[in-house]
């Protein structure tokens, strides 16, 4: 059944963000002959429209006004409401980002419908859109359907592959309109001082837990991350380790820390409590090194080594270095 899908796309330094490309691609797959629209707001928006067409969109609601550059809830919600009014969507896709966490519930409320947050899958089951997401710290998965329309979903980064770029595809560009009024004034912005790669951007995350036995254990964890390459690997820590002051809280992975979805998550001396798994269960692959063969983390891992990290990790560092 043909369905119209509206994607709330985001710009990353003036270009279509990688997650938006994935969302437009999945919208294209699920549209079944319906129209895929995207909103693009802020400096560079109309220029990025062609990328959105290549990614699978038929129509783009764009406006280059710099008033859209920094996400302001009321302003963006108003623009997306307008686009929804003109595109009659059966579904609205938003990335589970700073934008989506705010936009998802608000646009759903404005449309008299509901949102499923942080979806890892969106599929057509017998003509109906179903959304799957994690709950209970990754212990459970929940599949939802919608009693109301449009079905709004915020979708996790890397949940879907983009479609093959449709070379020289074209579509219709419609003015998304000038920024509306907002009840919110943005009075300041500061960038966090981060050395090197952000945890949430890393394709490999190497984390240490209480089983390291002390803060010095993180030197070994850091050495493994360095062996993988500082341009793609970052270091995380369990809450227990952070609570003990062994590693900065900014690097905490888990329910009350960062949620990471790397290609590879290496859990060293981490038992795998639910609250920790909540932060890493979306990883493509988890491997674990733990002395305790019964540690829960092994149940969540593809590969495991039962052993003392003090012996295993230095050996692993050498083996990783050996393959470059």
């Amino acid at each position: 059944m043909a369905r119209n899908i509206l994607v709330v796309a985001e710009l990353d330094e003036g270009a279509l963000s990688s997650t938006s490309t994935e969302l437009i691609g999945q919208a294209n797959r699920l549209s079944d002959g319906g129209q895929v629209s995207a909103t693009l707001l802020g400096t560079g928006a109309t220029g990025a429209a062609s990328t959105a067409f290549e990614a699978g969109a038929d129509r783009v609601f764009a406006n280059d006004d710099g008033g859209y550059d920094q996400y302001n809830s009321d302003i963006w919600v108003s623009a997306v409401e307008n686009a929804a009014g003109q595109s009659s969507p059966d579904a609205i896709f938003v990335a589970q980002s700073v934008v989506g966490r705010d936009m998802g519930p608000r646009i759903a409320a404005r449309q008299g419908s509901a949102v499923a947050m942080d979806c890892v899958n969106v599929e057509d089951v017998g003509g109906e859109l179903k959304a799957t997401r994690s709950a209970y710290g990754g212990n459970a998965q929940a599949m939802y359907s919608f009693a109301t329309s449009p079905a709004v979903m915020t979708i996790r980064a890397k949940a879907f592959d983009p479609i093959e770029a449709r070379a020289s595809a074209s579509g219709e560009t419609i003015d998304a309109g000038a920024p509306a009024e907002s009840r919110t004034t943005i009075v300041g912005r500061e960038f966090a001082e981060t050395e090197g790669l952000q945890l949430t951007d890393a394709t490999i995350v190497v984390s240490g837990g209480r089983g390291l036995g002390g803060p010095e254990g993180f030197e070994t964890v850091e050495a493994l991350a360095a062996a993988f390459g500082t341009n793609r690997a970052a270091v995380g820590a369990s809450r227990a380790a952070c609570d003990l002051g062994w590693y900065p809280v900014s690097q905490q992975v888990g329910l009350t820390g960062k949620v990471v979805t790397p290609d590879l998550y290496v859990a060293i001396a981490i038992s795998g409590a639910s609250q920790h798994m909540a932060g890493c269960s979306g990883s493509k692959m988890i491997i674990a090194v733990n002395r305790d063969a019964d540690a829960n983390i092994f149940a969540m891992s593809k590969y495991g080594i039962v052993g003392d990290y003090k012996q295993v990790i230095p050996a692993l560092i050498e083996a990783v270095k050996a393959v470059g």
Binding site: F146, T256, S274, E318
Partner: protein
């Protein structure tokens, strides 16, 4: 001023996954033996934010705790009362059962409207069981109030709420006129632990119970009847088999075997 803290009681997230079970017939979590339900961690932090503002103002601001839940949710309310909140309201009604985020927000917003003079609503960034993170936003939509999410700092002065929000690459500070809603993130800091004396005092504080008719809500608009999002299936994801334990006579051999696997899987 009058602040509201929304508090949810949830299964303890420290429950080990091995003790986590689902009743497939009802799509509900079976309470784990030996683990008491707890106040959702982020809601404790939201309470802390409200308390600090009240203390900084040094006036007779009032904090009311709202919880939608079963009778057992009294414990979550009592915990926030022990932290220093003044009154509690338990929103309990069979008609609320089977609700979604929309109906939860509808009930909470009705209760806030009922209180009449609320200046700000403090919610956790998400409930630590379902992790949706939308009730605070939906309350704001119901009330048509501005909302700021993911706060690491909140100040209220002269009718303006100033919130520092956590972004992917830093922070932003936003200003909004009261009344407003804020959802508080873990970056705010740890909630206080009530002292024994405060726990005893909390036992004496007033907790009222309200039902749908107290709030002027129709049963058809709340609970399962009013839900827009339908849970089709709650299940424990199947892992793609047992973990493969990497063998080897020495750590070096194990490490080499593991790297070979990772290369075969194209992870390295």
């Amino acid at each position: 001023m009058h602040f509201v803290v929304c508090a949810k009681q949830i299964p303890d997230p420290e429950t080990p996954p091995t003790a986590f079970k689902i009743d497939a017939a009802t799509n509900e979590v079976i309470p784990a033996q030996g683990f008491q339900p707890v106040l959702s961690q982020f809601d404790g932090i939201a309470a802390e934010a409200a308390l600090r503002i009240k203390e900084a103002a040094g006036d007779d601001s009032k904090i009311t705790v709202l919880s939608l839940g079963a009778e057992s949710a009294q414990a979550a309310i009592k915990q926030v009362l022990a932290m220093g909140a003044d009154e509690g309201v338990l929103l309990q009604d069979d008609a609320f059962d089977g609700g979604d985020s929309h109906t939860t927000a509808k009930v909470l917003a009705a209760a806030i409207r009922n209180l009449g003079d609320v200046d700000a609503v403090f919610c956790g960034r998400q409930a630590a069981d379902w992790d949706m993170g939308q009730v605070g936003l939906l309350i704001a939509e119901e009330l048509e109030w501005p909302v700021a999410i993911l706060a690491k700092d909140v100040q209220i002065t002269d009718g303006t709420m100033s919130t520092t929000r956590v972004l992917a690459d830093g922070y932003e500070t936003v200003a909004q006129s009261l009344p407003a809603v804020v959802t508080v993130s873990n970056e705010f800091g740890e909630p206080r632990y009530p002292k024994l004396q405060q726990i005893m005092q909390a036992a004496k504080k007033t907790v009222t119970t309200q039902r749908h008719d107290d709030l002027g809500l129709d049963t058809g608009d709340v609970g399962a009847a009013g839900s827009r999002l339908k849970l089709d299936k709650l299940f424990i994801p199947e892992t793609d088999g047992q973990v493969e334990l990497i063998q080897g006579d020495t750590p070096q051999e194990q490490a080499a075997n593991l790297v070979a696997k990772l290369r075969a899987d194209k992870v390295l």
